[in-house]
């Protein structure tokens, strides 16, 4: 299903012509309205007129998260505050949050792009959508909220938390679409089942999970747990929030809303633009933003982009599921490790739950990784050999995938923290003084 079929399926040629036109306009708009860009672009000798083809984008300097922070809070806004009708901010784990503002037109485009990926998996005006993202400055909840309303769904803005009540509402309100982080969906299905709710009691059919990475293995577990079909979507508050890209029913990559966002992939160390199809850091230029337009924003997310037409008929490019933010990447004994790799190893071992925790410590200048996992199969208690072989299986599989030796600790069920929003599974104690 399509929300804006003519746009989503337009030929590449038409689309790229449109992108070029909008890119030139966005560059001029930044030059005229944002002093920061006026200075940057002037220094780089870039004007809208000099952009003759899409590849001329390479002459525009990158924008980073630090640039947004340096202009905290409103320095990069391109319109006076009377034009801004909404403000969001990123969680900002370190330092000040990054603040973004939306004009009425920005909100309209935001809800269009959200409605696109929702419609792409079959969400329609008959659906009852339960939004279990936390409402607030975080873009996830309100982004999905207005997109789903635009599609005509009955939206339940329950927000996150109070999981037993979530389960009750899932059942009593006949929720058909669940919106949450993958880790919260996993937790909610556990709680629902503990409350005696079976999948037959539920009308759930679609999950729109986002705001944190989710491996295919974890997704399978959630889908089985709830008996639904789910898709992934992508976005970040700096660019707009959810809706920058999203999966269709074929789940072979996340389609960009390419008429509003122009993606590139670069080598994150050298900054050089990579040829189509290569893996690197995603860089996105907003093409329609009025509130806070960004030129070549470095997302720090590692992915690859495919430009072939999709089976669903969409022509808009697809990005591979993000393996991890370059920020999330852990360097353990010099080896690059993404938590998502660990998650997929764990989710493929029977008898343990998908909840896990990573603990990093340093002793004698060497890093140690401990992976704590919950056992959830009582059969393992029959004898020690079974428990030990489970532990060994986890150690061996981690070694194969990560190339480093990790310690695996089996812990009792329900002892690892559950999350109502983004999961925080990494405990890095390496900066603490050596004991």
């Amino acid at each position: 299903m399509f929300f804006q079929k003519d746009i989503e399926t337009m030929s590449r040629q038409e689309l790229e012509d449109l992108q070029l036109k909008k890119l030139k306009h966005q560059v001029q708009y930044c030059m005229d309205n944002v002093p920061f860009y006026h200075e940057r672009l002037t220094k780089a000798g870039v004007t809208a007129d000099k952009i003759k083809t899409l590849s001329d984008i390479q002459y525009i300097p990158y924008t980073t998260k630090a640039d947004i922070r340096d202009n905290y809070p409103y320095g990069l806004f391109a319109v006076p505050m009377k034009e801004i009708v909404r403000i969001h901010a990123s969680s900002g784990t370190t330092g000040k949050p990054t603040v973004v503002g939306y004009t009425r037109h920005d909100l309209d485009i935001w809800s269009d792009t959200v409605a696109r990926f929702c419609a792409a998996v079959g969400v329609n005006d008959e659906d009852v959508a339960q939004i279990s993202f936390g409402y607030g400055l975080f873009t996830g909840a309100l982004g999905l909220h207005y997109g789903l309303e635009k599609l005509g769904c009955s939206v339940i803005p329950i927000s996150s938390g109070n999981t037993q009540k979530q389960a009750m509402i899932l059942k009593d309100f006949g929720t058909t679409v669940l919106i949450s982080t993958p880790s919260y969906a996993m937790y909610m299905s556990e709680v629902a089942h503990e409350c005696g709710i079976t999948n037959d009691d539920l009308k759930l059919r679609i999950g729109l999970f986002g705001s944190e990475g989710c491996t295919d293995a974890l997704r399978d577990k959630i889908e089985k747990g709830f008996g639904l079909f789910s898709t992934d979507n992508y976005g970040m508050s700096e660019l707009q929030g959810p809706g920058v890209s999203g999966e269709c029913e074929y789940r072979c990559g996340l389609h960009f809303a390419e008429d509003h966002f122009l993606p590139e992939v670069i080598n994150s160390e050298t900054g050089e633009v990579l040829p189509r199809g290569e893996k690197g850091e995603l860089v996105v230029t907003t093409l329609s933003k009025e509130g806070i337009p960004l030129l070549r924003y470095r997302t720090k997310d590692i992915t690859r982009i495919h430009y072939e037409k999709c089976k669903c008929g969409r022509t808009h490019a697809r990005m591979e599921k993000v393996q991890g933010r370059s920020d999330d990447m852990l360097k353990i004994r010099g080896v690059n490790v993404f938590p998502s790799q660990i998650e997929s190893v764990m989710a493929n071992i029977d008898g343990i739950s998908p909840h896990y925790e990573l603990i990093l410590t340093r002793k004698n200048y060497t890093d140690y990784l401990e992976v704590r996992i919950e056992i959830n199969d009582t059969h393992l208690l029959e004898n020690f050999a079974l428990l030990e072989s489970k532990q060994k299986e986890a150690v061996d599989k981690l070694k194969t995938v990560l190339g480093i030796q990790a310690k695996v600790t089996l812990v009792a069920p329900h002892t690892i923290q559950r999350y109502e929003g983004k999961a925080r599974r990494i405990i890095d104690k390496r900066s603490e003084a050596e004991a």
């Binding site: 959830n376 009582t378 059969h379 393992l380 208690l381 029959e382 004898n383 428990l387 812990v411 009792a412």
Partner: protein, 143 residues
Amino acid sequence: MTTQQLSIFLENKPGQLVRVTQTLKEAQIDIRAMSLADTKDFGIVRMIVSETDKAQEVMRENGFMSTITKVMCIAMDDHPGGLSKITELMAQADVNIDYLYACITEIGKNAYIVMHVDKEATAEKVLQEAGIKMVSTADIAKS
């Protein structure tokens, strides 16, 4: 004839076992025999209790993971060579003992051996033929 054994998963850290014993105490459940094996990180407590199902229920309520396993429980006289006779019979019948623990009810009189074997039917047969008495969960609950 089999006996039910409750196995509980424990993390190997201070304060874990006391939660188990307190839980049983509060539920007024008596422990008849018990074994606690450990590795570096975790342990399994195995026990024969007066009310197995109730014990599992209270364990679940208190967040423990447990399972009920069928084991063989043998009543024997407490004298030198008592256990040896049983292990000899098992060896002759090519039965492997996965684990075994014992408890003495009164010194010089009765002892119970709890064991888990790979070939339960064979073990039961040779013990019966040798006139060795096995006890059920109900018997233990009474004793």
